[in-house]
Amino acid sequence: MGDVSQLNEYEYIEGKERKSLLSKSLRPFALIFSSRTATVGFAIVSFWIIVSVFAPFLTPYSPTYQDWKAPNQGPSWNHPLGTDELGRDLWARLIYGARIVLVIFPVSSGLWLPGGTALWGVAMALLVGSTLGLISGYKGGWIDEIVMRLLDAMISIPVILLYLLLVAALGASAVNVVIAIAIVGAPGIARLVRGLTLDIKTRDYIRAAETRGESSLYIMFVEILPNTKGPIIIDAMLRVGYAVFAMGTLGFLGLGLPPPSPDWGSMVAKGREFILAGAPWAALWPSVAIASLVVGLNLLADGLREELTRYQ
């Protein structure tokens, strides 16, 4: 009997833990759905994530297959969004293009990493920017001066120009686009993290950690960094939007992913040649895709920020 009651007690505790885990993992969704703005943004972003993940099942065409008898076609049953100047299916190119942005990072012709190019770019920017911001904010003094003045100098360069300089110097490839996004994004993140660090380092638990004799690295990455995650996540979400836009800009200028990659920016650039000739589709759909994804990410970030502010 006692065994049974003991077992029930275990089950009760385990169930409670499971419930708390479930509620923990659902909490962000509850936060999103409590804001109408965030919900709309989430729906748009989810759409692109879902179509990019399931792209091979959503179209019979390869994004590079050229039907040379059917260039610049309008929407039809065979090609729901039409075809581009080489007879490639625009829907296939659009959703495979979304994969590159959100799901897959093509390091080289034979090597792909999970996580989209834009996400990798922002992740790298977060890594570099957070580290610099933490060091600068926590250490202060001449280290802070040097790091921040250097980052200020970088921020003073117009963003598009900086992208162009970096990619023109490094060459057009997915890896170099990630590097460019990281370099352009890092100063902003560093400033944000530094500001948060300056506030957090005055708290009692930081003093306590210092009194315990914890190392600076431990304090920065274990005590301070986790407490900056809220604003960083919101900022990162906005930065993914910027990164998508940057990828589009670079692709449009011929400095994005090399052809025949279904890069949205280069699709717009190539398609625009035929707008005045009466075939606007190839430029229209990728423009809509870029705009919708960027707007979706911004709405999501804005909604979350509002909700978090209210919650706090």
Partner: protein, 551 residues
């Protein structure tokens, strides 16, 4: 005709024409090259020169606005783009003029005479022509300019074109208005070479290396403003040496404004559609969008012309893996030419055959168009030591939309053969910085009226056996060079064609290039622009153009 000394070769040409071996047009072209004036040549073919018919009366005045690109210009002999030459040609002029039918006429020259062995050319200048600073044009200016072309330090493309048959020591000033060229070997295309776009005649008294600082030429316009990347403004001269159909000096226009609208065609097209500009000078960047955008526009006339402009898939034969002819042949076999022409250029051109001779060149020797054969290409790669295929980089300028499409189609179609092509796009200006250096690339080549012209420019060696400056592939083949030299001195078209048959075979068999298509080009102009024609070389000449009143 009786007063003009007729070269024996002309009589031989007439004989060929009478036997049906030469068309009237080809006869006119070669007779003109040999110094026979056009009216005389026309009478020899049984035609009478008629005065130019004009649809509307000439109207003087107005400034024509041309969308273009305004590049940096220093030395006219160094010009390697069409756009700057189209601006400069209205300020400085050429000794000859090749019209849109590929017939070459004397221009600053009054006439020329050539010896029977085609090795001595006597050039007679027109008298009384003045530069826009008041200096008279004399033989000294011609000798000075020709020495600039042949100066290795200047780096002109004229060097590649002429150095094979002419040394600076072969240029003789006979009198104030006469120059004699003593060639190292026979050459028929001298007058056409004198109209090559960097061949503008400079003022030897004032030219110091920068034409924009002292823009002294004999042309109908003077330079009023030149801002690189922005605009080039020209104003009409009042004392130009040529007269218009109304008896007053040309030009009919008061001025020309070349506006730099960038390398993208959309702003150019939009500006012409709305009437902000009169003409699009598309030169190197014009593509199929010009034709597609204006073919049904009621306010615009699309002047069309078939040309020898092409996109050359070129391989550096001094670098691996392109030093192996099997690899070169394999890549050439991967060109699905019909598909490339259909998708890259919307069927607006002719199919190419991997030799740089245009089907409408007089000496063209008909050859079958090679078939797309990835299986054979794979076999060749295997034999060359690449059983698992090969990864190569292909450099292309992103400003040339049809080049990028060509590259994308090639990548797709070469994959079954084992080629893994990484397309490296870059702005066109960046491509031009290294066009002779990249291992594998697609280079735009402009139209040239004779088959030998481009062969001398890009596929032969100089006297020391080194590739000429524009030999971007570094391909030097002794037998080929000898045949080109031989062809340069053959006037008889049938004989010349026999040599070209061998030349073409060599290029197909072991040459360094692939050519998939030849491009038509277009010169779109508002309907008010009168007396303007498209030139196969992309040359824009507005000396006799006028703007009609709007109806």
């Amino acid at each position: 005709m009786s007063s003009q000394k007729i070269n024996e070769q002309v009589l031989e040409l007439k004989n060929q024409m009478d036997k049906g071996l030469l068309s009237r047009r080809e006869f006119l072209r070669y007779a003109a090259l040999l110094g026979v004036s056009l009216p005389v040549a026309l009478r020899m073919v049984g035609l009478v020169a008629s005065p130019k018919l004009q649809a509307a009366p000439v109207r003087r005045g107005g400034t024509i606005k041309v969308s273009s690109q305004v590049h940096k210009i220093t030395h006219p002999a160094q010009i390697s783009w069409l756009a700057p030459s189209n601006q400069c040609r209205h300020i400085a002029e050429y000794l000859t003029f090749t019209d849109s039918n590929n017939i070459t006429h004397p221009y600053l020259l009054k006439n020329w005479e050539v010896s029977d062995d085609l090795k001595t050319w006597t050039l007679n200048l027109r008298q009384g022509i003045k530069f826009n600073n008041g200096d008279e044009l004399t033989a000294d200016d011609v000798v000075f300019t020709m020495n600039q072309w042949l100066n290795k330090d200047v780096g002109s493309s004229m060097l590649g074109l002429m150095s094979g048959y002419l040394d600076p020591t072969g240029i003789e000033k006979v009198s104030k208005y006469q120059i004699r060229l003593h060639l190292k070997r026979p050459e028929i295309a001298v007058p056409e070479h004198l109209f090559h776009y960097p061949a503008m005649i400079l003022n030897h008294r004032t030219f110091e290396g920068d034409f924009i600082k002292k823009p002294h030429g004999t042309g109908p316009f003077v330079l009023a403003e030149y801002r690189e990347g922005e605009r080039c403004v020209l104003k009409a001269r009042k004392d130009y040496w040529r007269k218009g159909s109304d008896g007053s000096p040309l030009p009919y226009l008061d001025g020309i404004e070349f506006l730099d609208m960038g390398a993208e065609m959309a702003p150019h097209i939009g500006a012409l559609k709305t009437g902000e500009i009169h003409v699009i000078e598309a030169s190197d960047m014009g593509g199929i969008d010009l034709y597609l955008s204006f073919k049904n526009d009621p306010n615009v006339t699309v002047h069309a012309v078939a040309t020898a402009q092409t996109r050359v898939l070129r391989m550096r034969v001094d670098r691996k893996p392109w030093d192996d002819n099997r690899v070169r042949k394999a890549l050439k076999l991967c060109q699905n030419r019909e598909k490339i022409l259909a998708l890259a250029y919307y069927k607006q051109g002719l199919l190419g055959q991997d030799f740089h001779v245009y089907p409408k060149h007089p000496e063209y020797c008909p050859k079958p168009v090679p078939k797309y054969d990835p299986e054979k290409a794979r076999q060749l790669l295997k034999e060359a030591g690449y059983p698992n295929g090969i990864e190569v980089n292909l450099a292309v300028g992103s400003d040339w939309a049809d080049v990028v499409r060509y590259a994308e189609i090639l990548k797709e179609d070469a994959a079954p053969a084992g080629f893994r092509i990484n397309i490296q796009t870059m702005p066109a200006s960046q491509y031009w910085e290294k066009w002779t250096e990249v291992d594998l690339g697609i280079t735009p080549w402009t139209h040239r009226p004779l088959g030998t012209m481009v062969l001398n420019l890009a596929y032969v060696a100089d006297d020391q056996g080194k590739p000429v400056p524009w030999n971007e592939t570094r391909w030097v083949d002794k037998e080929f060079c000898d045949l080109v030299t031989q062809a340069n001195g053959i006037l008889n078209v049938e004989e010349r064609r026999k040599v070209f048959c061998k030349i073409e075979d060599i290029m197909v068999e072991r040459g360094p290039i692939g050519i998939s298509y030849w491009r038509n080009t277009w010169l779109p102009a508002r309907k008010v622009v009168q007396n303007i024609t498209a030139h196969p070389t992309g040359y824009l000449v507005l000396t006799e153009t006028w703007i009609a009143k709007k109806s």
